[in-house]
Subunit: 449 residues, 2 copies
C-alpha cells in the first residue's frame, strides 16, 4: 500500500486538510493526491522527531527512585547510571534499544537522535570492531524500522579542569583521531533511514581546542549536538574555569547555527535565551527527564517570544511519549507562572498546536533528515491517530491536537509509517512480542549480574 | 472465583508477601490463606482511591487549551467549564460518568469520591426527581462496578461577599433544607459499594452559619469534603472578608478531624500545613489538574514531615491515572527544589513506595469505606499489575512500585476487582466497548448543541 487517500485529514502548517492524500515512492512523499472515497477517517500527522536519546538508560527506568544520599541530585543519579552502563555489551544494547525504539514508534516518534557514548568494552578497551556498539544501535533501528540519526559522542575529559576520565568513564572516551575514524566508518553506512552526525558530550568533557579541531575536520552541514547548561553546578564550574556561562561560552566560541542542537539549555540568562534563538540552533528540551533529575525549567515563553527553534527528547526514557513531554513542558510553565495556556502561538494556535508545530518544525535541522512536514520530497513518516477513540468524541479539527496532548492517558496512535512502511498497526509494533521477549530475558540477566 | 491464591505477591504495609492468598466472601476479604501453587505471578495491590472527581468535566478534557484571555487562568477556564456544565442532563451525565469510571478502573482506581454539584436542570429548577443527577452518577458506578462515595455539594453563594448565585451557578444551588432532604434520600440508598457523604463547595460558596447549621444537622462520622486554598485569589478574598486565610479559618471554625478531606490546600503557611496534619484530615492533592489550571505546588515535603494524611484525585480528568498523579506530585517537587527523591519515607521506602502508602492509607477516612488495605474485614478491591510487561523485566519486589510509577507510559494494570468482582481483565473494562460507543454518541451531541 503506497498511498494514503482514504479521506483521512492531513495535518499541515496551516491546519487540517481534508482534500489531500499522499502518494509514496522510495520512502518519500511523491505527490499530494486528491483524497479518495471515505475510509477509516484517521487524523494523520507527521511523525514526531525524538531529539535526544540514551538508549541503554531504558533498562534503568524506575531503578533510581530510592534515596541514596541525604540530598539526592543529578550527581547521585549519575552513580546508578554509571553502574548500569558498565554492564552493557553490543548484544544487550541492541536488545534494549530495539525495545525502546518499538515503544517510541508505538508512541508516535518516528525519528530518534541517538546521543551515543557507550563506545568501548567495560574496561575501556575498544572492541575488535571499534564501531560494535554503534552497529548495535543501527541494528536495533533496522529491526524496528525507526529513522535514526546516530550521534557518536566525543568524550575526552572528566571535568572542566581537564582531569582524565575516571575508570567508569573510560568506555566513553576517544582521542580525536579515533573518534574521526569512528565517524567516517559510520558515515559510510548512511542510507535512506540512517544519518550520522556528531555530539560533543558537554563543555566539561571536550576541551576547547579539541572541539575546534573536530569542527575543522568534520564535514560541514552534519547535525551537531551538545549537552549544555543542564545543571547549576555545571554553570558554576564553567564560569570558574572558562570565565563564561556554558551557553554564553558556546555562542562565543563555536559556529553555532541551525545545524546545532543544544540539549537541555535549562539555565539561561535573558541574553543567552535570545542568543540561541538568533543563532538558529535547536534546543532539545527533555521535560520528563529534566523533572526526574530535578534539573529545572526551560524559559519557554521568553524563547518562543524570541522565535527560537526547539523540540523534545525522551533522554533517559523514564517516559517514552511525545504526549507526556509536550504536556508537561506546558504544565511546568503553568505551575511556575500560575497562569494557563503559556505556549500559545501568534496566529490563534492553541497550546497543543503551538507545541506540535514547534517540535515538528525543528526535526529536519536537528536530525539532518527530511522529516517534520508531509509534503512532496519529504520522508513518508506519519502517524494516524484513532478517530474512534473516546478522547476524540465530538472532535472538531481545531481541537484534535489539544485532545491528543491534553486529554487522558491512552495511547491514541493507531498506525505508524516510516519511509512509507507500516511499522505499527492497531497500536502495536509489528515485532512487539519478539522484541519484548528478548528484552525481558536480556534485562533480567543484566540486572542480576 | 472467590480466591486469590495463585502465588502472586501481595503488597502490604511492610512489603510484598509471597506466602498469602485472599479468601473473599460478600465482597470483603474473609481471610488470608496460604498461597497456592504457582499461577500468573502478578503483583497484587489494593486498588487506588480517587479522592476527587467532577465526572462531567471528562467531556471537556482538551477543550480549554486555547487562549481566551491575555492572561488565561483558573478563572478563564471556569467560563468554559460553566458553558459545558450547562448542557448536561441525567442521561448524558450517566453516559459520561460511565466512560470515566471505566477509565478509572482500567487505570487502577477502585473507589471514587464524586464531588457532585450539578444538581438541577440547566435553568436552575429542581428536576421532578430532585436526586436525578445524583442517581445518574450512582447508575454509572453500578454499570461499571466502581466503588462510589457520593458527595452531594452544598453551594449557596457566589462569593465571600454572599452575592447570590449567577445564572450559570443556579443549577448548583440549594437552601439548607433542600440539601438535607437530598442527603437523606441518597443515604437511604447506601449499599456495599455506595457511601454518601457531604461536600461544602468552598468557603466562598457556603456562609459560616450555613456550614455550622449543616454540620449540626448531619450525622457524625460521614465523609466531609471541601475545596480550599486552590487559588491565590481565593486566599486574598477570604483574608479580606473573614480576616483569615482559608485553611486558617477552617481549622479555627470547623471541627476538622479525620472525617474531613481538604481538596487542593495548595496555598498554605507553615502553620496551616502543620495544622492540617495535626487535625487528622486528609488533603486531596490533584497534581494534573492543579498543573493544568496553574494552581501551584502543594508543600509536600513539609506536610510529610508533619505526618499529614493525603491522597490524590483526578478532579477535572484531563488525566485519569494514579501513575501520572503520583509521578508528577513528586516531579513538581523536584523541579521546584532541584533535588531528586523528595517523597522518601522514614523506613527506607522508595519514592514510589512512600507515595503509594500515603495515598492508600488515606482512602478509608476520605471515602468512609473499608478500602486501602488487603486484610480480613476490608473490601476485596485489588489491582494486579502485569508481571510480564517489559517495564518489570528483571524486577525485584523492592523496585516494583517505582517501576510502576516511574517507568514508561503503558498501563500496567492487568486485572481489577471491586468487592471481589472482576471488572477489568487483560487491561480492559468488561463493558468498555458498549460504554465507549454510548459516550461517543452522547458527547458528539452535547458539544454540537
Amino acid at each position: 500500500m503506497d498511498t494514503l487517500s482514504d479521506a483521512s485529514l492531513l495535518w499541515t502548517r496551516t491546519g487540517w486538510r481534508g482534500d489531500a492524500g499522499l502518494d509514496v515512492a522510495g520512502g518519500r512523499i511523491a505527490a499530494q493526491l486528491p483524497a479518495g472515497p471515505g475510509g477509516h477517517g484517521d487524523w494523520v500527522l507527521p511523525g514526531v522527531p525524538n531529539l535526544h536519546s540514551h538508549a541503554f538508560q531504558r533498562a534503568m527506568a524506575g531503578l533510581a527512585e530510592r534515596q541514596t544520599h541525604p540530598q539526592d541530585s543529578f550527581w547521585t543519579w549519575r552513580e546508578t547510571m554509571y553502574r548500569i552502563a558498565a554492564r552493557f555489551d553490543p548484544d544487550s544494547l541492541q536488545a534494549v534499544a530495539a525495545q525502546l525504539y518499538a515503544e517510541m514508534l508505538e508512541a508516535g516518534y518516528t525519528t530518534v537522535c541517538e546521543f551515543h557514548y557507550l563506545h568501548h568494552a567495560p574496561d575501556g578497551r575498544p572492541y575488535a570492531e571499534p564501531a560494535a556498539m554503534s552497529q548495535a544501535l543501527i541494528a536495533a533501528a533496522r529491526e524496528t524500522g525507526i529513522r535514526l540519526t546516530l550521534l557518536p559522542v566525543l568524550y575526552m575529559s572528566g571535568g572542566f579542569d581537564r582531569r582524565p576520565l575516571s575508570a567508569r568513564q573510560r568506555r566513553f572516551g576517544h582521542d580525536l583521531d579515533g573518534f574521526l575514524r569512528l565517524f567516517e566508518a559510520l558515515r559510510a553506512g548512511e542510507d535512506e533511514r540512517l544519518r550520522v552526525g556528531v555530539a560533543f558530550h558537554s563543555l566539561r568533557a571536550v576541551p576547547p581546542e579539541a572541539m575546534s579541531a573536530a569542527l575543522a575536520a568534520l564535514p560541514a552541514g552534519i547535525p551537531l549536538h551538545i549537552h549544555v547548561a543542564e545543571q547549576i553546578g555545571e554553570v558554576q564550574d564553567c564560569l570558574a574555569v572558562r570565565n563564561a556561562r556554558p551557553v554564553e561560552w558556546l555562542l562565543e566560541h563555536a559556529p553555532v547555527d541551525r545545524h546545532w542542537t543544544l540539549v537541555h539549555a535549562t539555565h539561561l540568562t535573558a541574553e543567552e535565551t535570545a542568543g540561541i534563538a538568533a543563532s538558529g540552533a535547536t534546543v532539545a528540551i527533555c521535560p520528563t527527564t529534566e523533572a526526574n533529575l530535578g534539573d529545572g525549567l526551560f524559559p519557554l515563553r521568553a524563547y518562543l517570544d524570541a522565535g527560537g527553534a526547539w523540540g523534545v527528547g525522551s533522554d533517559s526514557h523514564i517516559s517514552v511519549s511525545p504526549v507526556e513531554e509536550l504536556r508537561w513542558l506546558e504544565y511546568g510553565q503553568r505551575l511556575h507562572t500560575r497562569h494557563r495556556n503559556i505556549a500559545v502561538g501568534g496566529e490563534g494556535d492553541s497550546v497543543g498546536e503551538t507545541l506540535l508545530h514547534g517540535t515538528l518544525a525543528s526535526g529536519a535541522n536537528a536530525s539532518g533528515q527530511a522529516v517534520g512536514v508531509l509534503a512532496p520530497g519529504m520522508a513518508a513518516d506519519w502517524i494516524a491517530l484513532d478517530a474512534q477513540a473516546p478522547a476524540f468524541a465530538g472532535a472538531q479539527p481545531a481541537d484534535v491536537v489539544d485532545r491528543w496532548l491534553f486529554s487522558g492517558n491512552r495511547n491514541l496512535v493507531r498506525e505508524v509509517r516510516v519511509a512509507g512502511e507500516v511499522v505499527v498497526s492497531a497500536g502495536r509494533h509489528r515485532a512487539a512480542e519478539t522484541i519484548a521477549a528478548r528484552y525481558r530475558h536480556v534485562v533480567a540477566r543484566l540486572l542480576a549480574d
